[in-house]
């Protein structure tokens, strides 16, 4: 028994080390967002909220941030809602050309984004159509589709077919079966898929660079634009705010849920 515990604590410390490693650059960004100087290096020469103030008065970055949020959310919802049925088809059905189609649907990650970016524009130019938000959204859906597919598929394999068959034999329709048996079991993967899809869309630079019109530029595109002069620490401030929001929202939500549960 004693040996077992030490095994677990090894796993724990290993995980902790991986976390520290993974967060080192993030911590650097957060710290530098409080650096009063424009270029920071360590050790820092002071502490200030200067960049947060400037961020609030920068309509260009805030506008881009709004674009990123809208685009990311729509992408996550739409990509997941078309990826789940596709994953279902691959895992639950046998049909001709399955391997090929499965590979085809994960193709978007195999193609360098520069190529994809230009390719879509070549096609659009041939169609003689201007760019639009629809195009950007469709592009992002296709870009993030494989991630959702892979996550959902991997999970679906683990869900036993027998559960669904049992529901079906009890007279449920395929849709009812999906809704009341498959979907709940699948929901962690669906959530993970949406999270994936949102973040990839939120963080995508190369393809977005080509597809976004002038008025739909996202945060990463703006950052790329700053590379020539220097990236303003306002971007570090924005990243820090995002991180604080992502950590604190689930925490507060959890707190309120527990509180209401206790009261009722």
């Amino acid at each position: 028994m004693k040996k077992l515990i030490s095994g677990w604590s090894l796993i724990k410390s290993y995980t902790l080390l991986v976390y520290i490693w993974m967060f080192a650059p993030i911590v650097a960004v957060v710290l530098l967002s409080f650096n009063p100087q424009q270029f920071g290096s360590f050790p820092m020469k002071g502490f200030s909220f200067r960049w947060y103030g400037e961020l609030l008065h920068n309509p260009s970055i805030l506008g881009a941030f709004k674009n990123s949020l809208i685009l990311g959310s729509l992408t996550a919802i739409l990509a997941t809602s078309i990826a789940v049925p596709a994953a279902l088809a691959f895992v639950r059905y046998e049909f001709r050309g399955k391997d090929f189609l499965n590979t085809l649907l994960i193709a978007p990650i195999m193609i360098p984004e520069v190529v994809l970016g230009v390719a879509l524009l070549l096609f659009l130019r041939w169609l003689q159509q201007p760019k639009s938000f629809m195009l950007l959204l469709l592009g992002h859906i296709v870009l993030t589709l494989p991630y959702v597919m892979l996550v959902v598929q991997a999970r679906m394999v683990g869900i036993k077919k027998e559960y669904e068959e049992a529901a079906l034999s009890l007279g449920a329709s395929p849709f009812q079966t999906f809704r009341s048996v498959t979907f709940p079991l699948l929901s962690p993967a669906i959530f993970a898929g949406m999270l994936f899809s949102f973040t990839i869309s939120f963080d995508d630079v190369t393809a977005t660079l080509f597809w976004a019109t002038a008025s739909q530029q996202t945060v990463p595109v703006k950052i790329f634009g700053m590379l020539r002069n220097s990236i303003s620490p306002e971007i570090n401030a924005l990243g820090t705010i995002m991180i604080i929001l992502t950590i604190s929202l689930p925490l507060t939500a959890g707190y309120f849920i527990r509180k209401f549960a206790r009261e009722s």
């Binding site: 991986v18 049925p85 996550v151 950590i247």
Partner: protein
């Protein structure tokens, strides 16, 4: 019966339509373009010739970039696996109240733009970066260690970008494992390690293989880590595509390189699928 054979197609149709429209057709344009000619002024000339491909294989320069790309991608996959499996297993096993938070933390790096994340390694690994600063001040070293602008730094950047993909993929398939199987095995006298080896590990393989594939192909297509953290001679094939298409505006040649890269990655994925691929794993589990 007919309805049954139609159903998978119905389920697939939205994704297939999107991929065909946004990806397959445009990529055909890339392939067509790779046979075109580039004029010195800039307007490309439609043609059908293999000059762009000839140029790629004319000497060892371009193929060697391709080989380097594959090597770096394999290294990245291996490192991601080594670094990612145990944390994924931890998430699966832990009963901590903070599990959802810990999970979200994995995705947190993505909130900070990839460019910024990559750039910020300079603040850590650089000559006046955090590590050197600490080592110098405790007197472990006399002069800064040179850690940036080599393949190691590129791998750091790649790992930082790709590790979350590996962890989440493995976790999702671990989480799908029926825990009663493990209980049963333990009741039959298996040790924790035996239960892991005989049940958990094999059942997590779909996630592992999905993660590996994902990391491999993503590495083949990224150009930012080599561009920012690499030194002279760490460029990968995607950097070349980027340069040809964007810097020199040589679209036909850029398209030819892309086609070659596409064919190569396609071949690898195909072989992978055939011998140890995801579908193979699906079948063994589904039966």
């Amino acid at each position: 019966m007919k309805q049954k054979t139609l159903r998978p197609w119905l389920l697939l149709s939205p994704s297939l339509t999107a991929v065909l429209l946004i990806l397959v057709v445009p990529v055909c344009f890339v392939v067509v373009y790779s046979f075109w000619l580039r004029s010195p002024i800039g307007q490309d000339i439609p043609a059908f010739q293999f000059g762009n491909y000839g140029k790629f294989f004319a000497d060892f320069f371009y193929p060697s970039l391709l080989i380097r790309t594959i090597r770096v991608a394999l290294e990245t996959v291996l490192l991601c696996l080594v670094m990612g499996y145990i944390p994924a297993y931890f998430f699966y096993k832990t009963e901590s109240r903070f599990k959802p938070i810990l999970m979200i933390l994995v995705m947190l790096p993505f909130w900070i733009s990839f460019i910024i994340r990559t750039l910020s390694w300079i603040n850590i690994l650089g000559d006046s970066g955090l590590i050197n600063h600490v080592l110098l001040s405790i007197g472990l070293i006399d002069s800064p260690l040179s850690m940036l602008y080599n393949e190691g730094a590129v791998l750091m950047g790649l790992l930082q970008y790709l590790l979350p993909f590996m962890i989440l993929n493995i976790y999702v398939s671990l989480d799908g494992i029926d825990k009663s199987l493990i209980e049963a095995a333990k009741n039959l006298g298996c040790t924790e390690w035996q239960a892991f080896k005989e049940i958990t590990l094999p059942l997590s393989l779909p996630g592992v293989s999905a993660g590996c594939l994902l990391v491999f192909v993503l590495t083949c297509g990224t150009y930012l880590p080599p561009m920012i953290l690499g030194g002279p001679g760490n460029d990968m094939i995607a950097n070349l595509v980027f340069k040809r298409i964007i810097t020199t505006l040589d679209w036909p040649f850029g398209c030819a390189i892309s086609t070659i890269l596409l064919a190569l990655v396609g071949l690898i994925v195909f072989t992978y699928n055939k011998y140890m691929g995801i579908n193979q794993v699906f079948k063994s589990l589904g039966g």
